[in-house]
Symmetry: C2
Subunit: 124 residues, 2 copies
């Protein structure tokens, strides 16, 4: 059975939460086996658990906050705009990508593509 819009919404909300304040394991728990991550779009997709773990491992120790701005669900896919703010001493670094995810029948993420470029990183 396909995931409901509510299942998808919960996974996205949990993702936005744990990508900022959770552990790598919290993030990986949202992904299905065999998931593919392309972040940002145009870079080599990460197709192994190890490479996805490495990706989220980089941001795990950072002090971050996040906010979900816009979420659109269509079939078994979601597109959403969120922001991730990293505290760097007295500075803050904000990146606010648009992500697109597909989900399996259990509401786990099967693919994630993040749309952003260097010019979208803002310090303040």
């Amino acid at each position: 059975m396909a995931p409901s819009a509510e299942d998808i919404r919960k996974t996205v909300e949990r993702y936005v939460e744990v990508v900022a304040t959770g552990t790598v394991d919290d993030v990986l728990a949202l992904y299905a086996d065999g998931a593919v991550v392309e972040d940002p779009v145009g870079t080599d997709p990460r197709t192994t658990v190890e490479s996805i773990r490495e990706f989220y491992g980089v941001i795990e120790p950072l002090q971050q906050t996040s906010e979900l701005h816009t979420l659109r669900i269509a079939g078994n896919t979601a597109a959403f705009h969120f922001s991730l703010v990293t505290e760097l001493g007295e500075q803050k670094l904000e990146i606010a990508p648009i992500d697109v995810m597909t989900f399996d029948d259990d509401g786990k993420i099967t693919t994630m593509k993040a749309y952003w470029s260097q010019e979208d990183m803002v310090t303040r």
Copy 2:
């Protein structure tokens, strides 16, 4: 040569403008030959010029305004959140999808996927 971010930005801004206030021909002029349109995601993709013309023909006669809220560009693709407001007598119908487009070397649209569902249509 791949399209520049500036080429992509111009095509997206023009798309958001003409989808609301232009003609079907204005919209089709932004698409490359052989383009594919899936709106909303999960419906049958439109793969012929005739079927894409039919799609935009439905909204051409409507009185509409539009606004681009967020645009993210990654490689030869763009993801953007915009709103399209249709005047229906004293009521307004707003739909604010997230669209994802890919572009050819000339900055023309090769694929368009629109993420939204019925529950995102708001009357006010």
